[in-house]
């Protein structure tokens, strides 16, 4: 434990929460444990954690048993002689017997448990993510009466609303909606212990908490009185997580103060633990009134501009209304808005209603999210299948070893059902122990994943805790795996062929029906692993290909600082003067080679900006009288510091000022699209909201929006001929870029102590954001494919060593008759390799089909990539040979005499 408050073991707490009835009494019990843990932790964290686990276990079992028996009988745990008995006693006897048998063969048990732990762990981890993102319901009151309202425009079926439209809709909603909740996420600057930090804030309308039915945990939440006039309500409600982290869960914080955007806000209350905001996956740290939006983000016109769409909305239906009435109301509003606001509403824009319970994040996102979640569940399901095949294979091997014993028991009159039951108990116990280990593994790997410092464009928070749903899932999977994959071996072992087995010495060679079943299992395992490995290979190859793409941007290592220059603070030319002084200082920092600024970086996943141009001789797209072209403003130093290359003409210079002729630089893609004759320097272009601009230079085409895009036309405007509000400063450096970025921020601070910085970072990290989905995909699929390979290897190793152990006598005879040890090893190895060849061929055939299916997700690699399709079998050949050869060679090292005496 280093620093901070030592926490009680979260997994123990969750298991306990799942075991106890929900309610305030349970909360109080957990509070008691927490309080005593805090007292104990001072004398040693490890012992306190062990104590917590013990208490949680005892308490959970006490409550579980009390619930099963008469709740009024205080002695529910007392043994009651004569009561119960029968079936429970039988089960208990089976459990004890199985436990003894499992402990007696630790190697078998260990390998089986490890297999299952890997399989069930992978499933638990992925399922808990799916549960957190897709399955878990938001704690809205009566969610069936909630309706999502979306703004539909061509190309965007379920978009967000503008603030003015939202307010108009509230006025028009009588008779259908009892209220409407609107909110939008934003980053706000908050004072921290040292300097400032950004908080994610959800700006919410007055009825937000009332409509959603969220009750405060402490104090009050925001209400209609907090959303009356712009800038007039400096109040804030805290999310549970933020309250815990920043204020140590202090209920006395109500009435306290939090400085946001340089202004004090009064803390009014805390949201409940299970509420994570209206936009799934993006949990805010604080909730502020919508009317404070412009005060927190100076320079935005969000509240008043009808063309600025940014608001998520949900309505609560009146008891008399349904989704049909809701859509009817929205249709009337659509017609009304089109007539009243023609500048903002075209004939193809509309409002649409979708029941909230039908939506996970957003209908458009869901269309991608659900298949992705499904695909990854299939992948981990396959991993589990391989693990279960190991279980079945091992149990079959054990059953074959025990056929004599079982036959004797049946001959002596044991019921077949009892023996099957006992064997099944063993399988289920193995699965449960494996499942428990798997849950631990999942908790550990999730913590690793969720605390990893991923270059995310937005602070995504996922509460992937192992709650009751996840634990029941893992328990169910474990029991099902034990029953399903234990059944065949159990039935196999007890086939009523008693006299045959007792007589038949050949049973010792173990090539019966059970052995064939095991062979089939190994073939299946190999085939599935090959498919997963091919998929992983293809994803890794596309990641590699996208890393190699020449971006034409961001080559030199550089520090980046993003600043906001609000108009109130820097009216008119002050903004540019501030930037000039800052750049001058940054240029003087050690290691800095060049510095420049832009209004928007290339390859920015959260924002792309365009501008409208009229170009003589090139007709605009149908229905428009201009060309919409990607656009950003830069200054003279930017191309050098951001690794852009001017190929013709000149860059911006100090001579291009606010009073001189407006100039732009265009890229090569722009030239070939709009000036095919190549003659562009000195040509005048009309930018609809700027007037005539003259092109003075041509930039080499860089990637603008995506790594894999076709060359996009781009226009670079002159930052000095505008009043910039948002700027990203980029300084290429010969020293550590991270340190340079922090030094840049310090310089900005020393010029203006209250400067608003959105982020400090490096070019490397900025570009890593674009690679993240591909990187995550490749890493996750590779991890599971690697897991599948390990599991299949365990299976193969197990089957070969078992076959070898059954043939010790035969090997002994061969060796004593003078057979060459190498030949014998090869004979034994061959059996394993034969299975791999069959499974591999099957797997490659299926892979060819799968590769075509995932072809759309690949980048720079054909689906039937030769490297992958040759590499995977080569890898498998090596692994399979080793896994078969190791046990085989061991057999030939035994002393022939000892081998002959065995059995």
């Amino acid at each position: 434990m280093t620093g901070g408050d030592p926490k009680a073991p979260a997994l123990a707490r969750r298991l306990l929460e799942a075991a106890l009835p929900r309610g305030s009494r349970t909360e109080a019990m957990l509070g008691d444990l927490e309080e005593e843990f805090a007292a104990r932790v001072r004398t040693g964290g490890r012992r306190a954690r062990a104590w917590y686990w013990r208490e949680a276990f005892l308490l959970a079992s006490r409550y579980t048993f009390t619930r099963w028996s008469d709740p009024r009988d205080g002695r529910a745990l007392d043994p009651r002689p004569g009561g119960g008995g029968g079936m429970l006693e039988t089960v208990w006897a089976d459990v004890r017997y199985s436990a003894r048998r499992l402990v007696r063969s630790p190697l078998f048990t260990g390998v089986a448990v490890l297999s299952l732990a890997l399989g069930i762990g992978a499933n638990t981890a992925i399922f808990s993510l799916v549960n957190a993102i897709v399955l878990r319901d938001a704690p809205y009151a009566e969610p069936d009466a909630l309706v999502d309202v979306y703004f539909q425009t061509p190309g965007f079926t379920h978009g967000v609303l503008s603030h003015p439209d939202f307010r108009d809709l509230i006025d028009a909603s009588a008779g259908v909606f009892s209220g409407l909740a609107g909110s939008q996420l934003t980053l706000v600057q908050a004072d921290a212990e040292a300097g400032v930090r950004l908080l994610t804030a959800e700006a919410v309308s007055g009825d937000y908490f009332g409509v959603l039915g969220i009750r405060p945990l402490v104090g009050r939440l925001l209400g209609p009185q907090d959303d009356v006039a712009p800038g007039a309500h400096p109040v804030v409600a805290l999310s549970h997580g933020f309250w815990e982290r920043r204020f140590g869960s202090d209920p006395g914080i109500v009435g306290g103060e939090l400085r946001l955007g340089g202004r004090p806000y009064t803390i009014v209350g805390v949201t409940p633990r299970d509420y994570h905001g209206m936009i799934r996956g993006l949990e805010p740290e604080v909730y502020v009134p919508l009317m404070m939006y412009e005060a927190l983000l100076p320079g935005s016109n969000t509240l008043t501009e009808r063309r600025n769409h940014s608001l998520f909305a949900k309505g609560r239906l009146m008891p008399s209304a349904g989704i049909v009435q809701a859509q009817g109301l929205l249709d009337r509003a659509t017609n009304d808005f089109r007539a009243r606001y023609p500048e903002a509403w075209t004939e193809s824009d509309a409002l649409v209603a979708v029941p909230t319970t039908d939506v996970i994040m957003n209908p458009m996102v869901d269309r991608v999210l659900l298949p992705a979640a499904g695909m990854i569940m299939v992948v981990v399901g396959l991993v589990l299948l391989i693990a279960c095949a190991n279980l079945a294979s091992f149990l079959l091997a054990r059953a074959a070893d025990r056929r004599r014993e079982i036959a004797v028991r049946i001959a002596l009159g044991a019921a077949r059902g009892r023996i099957v039951g006992q064997l099944l108990t063993e399988a289920v116990m193995l699965a449960l122990v494996g499942g428990a280990a798997g849950i631990g593994l999942a908790a550990w790997s999730l913590r690793l994943l969720l605390t990893a410092d991923l270059p995310l464009p937005l602070p995504i928070t996922i509460d992937a805790s192992l709650d009751g749903t996840v634990l029941s899932f893992s328990l169910g999977v474990s029991v099902a795996a034990g029953l399903l994959f234990g059944l065949a071996p159990s039935v196999q072992a007890t086939r009523p062929d008693v006299s045959g087995t007792l007589r038949d010495e050949a049973a010792a060679s173990g090539r019966g029906r059970g052995a064939r079943l095991r062979d089939a299992l190994v073939v299946g395992q190999v085939a599935v692993s090959v498919v997963l490995l091919v998929a992983a290979g293809l994803f890794l190859r596309s990641l590699d290909a996208s890393r190699r793409v020449e971006l034409g941007f961001g080559g030199p290592p550089a520090g980046i600082v993003e600043l906001v220059l609000p108009a109130e603070r820097y009216p008119g030319p002050e903004a540019m003067a501030f930037l000039d002084r800052l750049e001058e200082r940054i240029a003087g920092l050690p290691g800095v080679r060049s510095v420049g600024a832009t209004s928007n970086l290339h390859l920015n996943p959260t924002s792309t900006t365009t501008s409208e141009f009229v170009i003589e001789g090139v007709a605009p797209p149908a229905g428009q009288d201009f060309h919409s072209v990607d656009f950003a403003r830069i200054d003279g130093g930017y191309p050098a510091s951001a690794g852009l290359r001017i190929v013709e003409g000149r860059g911006f210079t100090a001579a291009d000022g606010p009073d001189s002729e407006p100039v732009v630089i265009v890229n090569e893609a722009f030239v070939s699209r709009f000036f095919p004759d190549g003659d562009v320097l000195g040509r005048s272009i009309r930018q609809t909201d700027e007037g005539e601009v003259t092109s003075v230079g041509v930039m080499a085409t860089a990637r603008i929006r995506q790594i894999g895009e076709d060359p996009r036309p781009f226009v670079y405007g002159n930052l000095r001929q505008s009043r910039p509000t948002f700027v990203a400063l980029v300084a290429s450096t010969t020293v550590d870029a991270e340190r340079t970025a922090l030094a840049m921020f310090d310089e900005a601070r020393s010029l203006d102590p209250e400067v608003m910085a959105y982020s400090t970072g490096t070019m490397e990290r900025h570009l890593a954001v674009m690679l993240l989905p591909r990187r995550l995909g490749a890493v996750v699929v590779s991890a599971f494919a690697g897991l599948a390979l390990i599991l299949a290897t365990i299976g193969l190793y197990g089957i070969v060593s078992h076959a070898v152990s059954r043939r010790v006598r035969e090997v002994g005879i061969r060796l004593s008759l003078g057979a060459d040890a190498g030949d014998v090893t090869w004979m034994l190895t061959r059996s394993g390799i034969r299975l791999v060849v069959v499974g591999g061929a099957l797997g490659l055939t299926v892979s060819a089909v799968v590769a075509r299916l995932i072809g759309r997700l690949l980048f720079g690699v054909p689906p039937l990539d030769l490297v992958t399709f040759l590499g995977v079998p080569a890898l498998f050949a090596v692994v399979a040979t080793v896994a078969s050869w190791v046990p085989a060679s061991r057999a030939t090292r035994v002393d022939p005499v000892a081998a002959l005496r065995s059995e």
Binding site: G31, D32, E34
Partner: protein, 110 residues
């Protein structure tokens, strides 16, 4: 639990501890009190289950305090012995005293 309407021994101890603690009578403190006053260690589960049962019988009432930071933002369940609870205590005490009557001398510590 009182087979014939008398309090069980854990019940008595819990009620007495709650009375001694007054406003501070919640799970952790009650268990501490039993440990420090009479050296009795009881399992956490028995304490909660017994408190639940006594509340059902109306011998105690409980109220939840506000969330507290030292308890991970969780409330305390503070119990208060009701008039019925006190009556039960008295009944048990009198029964015991009656039975003890006259035995004090002969059971004097040797």
């Amino acid at each position: 639990m009182g087979r014939d309407g008398y309090l069980g021994d854990l019940e008595q101890m819990l009620l007495l501890a709650a009375l001694r603690l007054g406003d501070d009578a919640y799970g952790t403190r009650i268990m501490e009190e039993l440990r420090s006053a009479v050296g009795r260690r009881v399992s956490r589960g028995s304490v909660y289950v017994t408190l639940d049962r006594m509340e059902e019988k109306g011998w105690i009432e409980s109220s939840m305090s506000g969330p507290r930071p030292e308890r991970g933002g969780r409330p305390r369940r503070v119990v208060r012995v009701t008039a019925e609870g006190v009556a039960e205590l008295r009944k048990s005490r009198e029964a015991l005293l009656t039975l003890w009557d006259g035995l004090e001398d002969s059971l004097e510590t040797p």
